[in-house]
């Protein structure tokens, strides 16, 4: 999921961005994120919306130094591939410090953070990011 500074796009996708809303295909049973009009695996349009768990395992990650405008304060931006069981998601990682470096297989959990800020006067874009798990429960 890429993040454009588009107010309407963010608003349309808020349930995915805030709560990890995904879609489960009733035909093949597979889950994809974010929800699309048709199942990317079998093409069926018979889908139901589901919420993914907010805890998973880090499969792989990268450390992005070439950050987009508005994200310099958060550079380097860590991006991870996270296995949530039903599906995998690509998401930003947060609370990464010299003492809390990401590792493959690490338990991570989703928390709400700022992802981009549109200048001084524009909208603040919030999204779930994953951080080394400390046991914050799903609700």
């Amino acid at each position: 999921m890429s993040m454009d500074l588009s107010i309407s796009r963010h608003w349309r996708r808020k349930y995915s961005i805030y709560r990890l809303q995904a879609a489960r295909c009733k035909a093949c049973g597979r889950v994809h994120y974010p929800p699309r009009p048709a199942c990317p695996y079998c093409g069926s349009r018979d889908l139901e919306l589901v919420e993914l768990p907010k805890h998973g395992k880090l499969v792989s990650f990268t450390k992005v130094y070439a950050v987009p405008e508005g994200a310099r304060a958060q550079s380097p931006v860590y991006v991870g591939l996270v296995d949530l069981g039903a599906t995998k998601v690509v998401a930003e990682l947060t609370d990464i410090t010299d003492q809390t470096q990401p590792k493959e297989g690490m338990e991570v959990e989703a928390v709400l953070r700022r992802t981009r800020v549109d200048g001084e006067a524009g909208l603040i874009y919030y999204a779930l990011k994953f951080r080394p798990a400390i046991g914050v429960p799903d609700v």
Binding site: Y33, K63, V64, L81, V89
Partner: protein, 212 residues
């Protein structure tokens, strides 16, 4: 692969690079450095196509073009190290024409890793071995044991003018099998395989270009 661009007058980065230079270049997204990525640039390429009987002196024969689509997503792919659209398109191509004895490939190495994954997806290199084989010169024009890969220098060196790139690749393969490529010419080349794709492989085109 990149180093072949030194001889290519159309290449954007027509110089050779050593592994240390790549690893010491600016890190974009660890471990990918600037020299692992394609340069942004402008470019245009064109092909004149005809019915096989219409031209008296064709440069080359475009034997087959096959395509396939896939999810093109790192998170939704069951195996992110295989580019399914490339695999599917190549399987179809193999069903249409004889792909034995390929002399050269022009593959879509938008990033170092993309080029390596294409070679492994095609089965030209065993899974996990492409990087080592490239490093050992397996696909190089001087003393390589396999087909020559990216005699043009590939996307990272020739450049990647997005929409023009696929046409560049076919034009380069056509010039190769005609013995007229102005850069690294694969001696006696008869068969060229071209692999084009976009992004993480949401679609792929595979073409076989043969000498006439």
């Amino acid at each position: 692969m990149h180093n072949n661009a030194k001889e290519n007058p159309y290449a954007m980065l027509n110089f050779t690079i050593k592994p240390e230079k790549v690893s010491k270049a600016q890190t974009i997204a660890d471990p990918i450095t600037l020299l692992d990525t394609y340069p942004l640039g402008d470019g245009a390429a064109a092909l004149v196509l005809s019915n096989k009987d219409a031209s008296k002196s064709p440069l080359a024969k475009l034997s087959a073009v096959e395509s396939a689509t896939d999810i093109g997503s790192l998170d939704l792919a069951d195996d992110p190290l295989t580019i399914s659209s490339v695999a599917d398109a190549y399987k179809r191509l193999q069903g249409a024409v004889n792909t034995d004895d390929i002399d050269l490939l022009e593959v879509h190495d938008s990033f170092t890793i993309t080029g390596l994954l294409i070679l492994e997806t095609l089965g030209i290199a065993p899974r996990g071995k492409a990087a080592q084989m490239v490093a050992e010169g397996w696909f190089s024009p001087t003393g390589g044991k396999g087909p020559i890969v990216n005699p043009s220098g590939g996307l990272k060196a020739r450049g990647h003018p997005i929409g023009a790139t696929g046409v560049y690749q076919v034009a380069e393969a056509a010039l190769q099998v005609a013995g007229k490529f102005p850069g690294v010419q694969v001696r006696g080349a008869r068969k060229g395989l071209v692999v084009s794709m976009n992004g993480l492989g949401s679609n792929a085109f595979v073409s076989l270009v043969e000498g006439v």
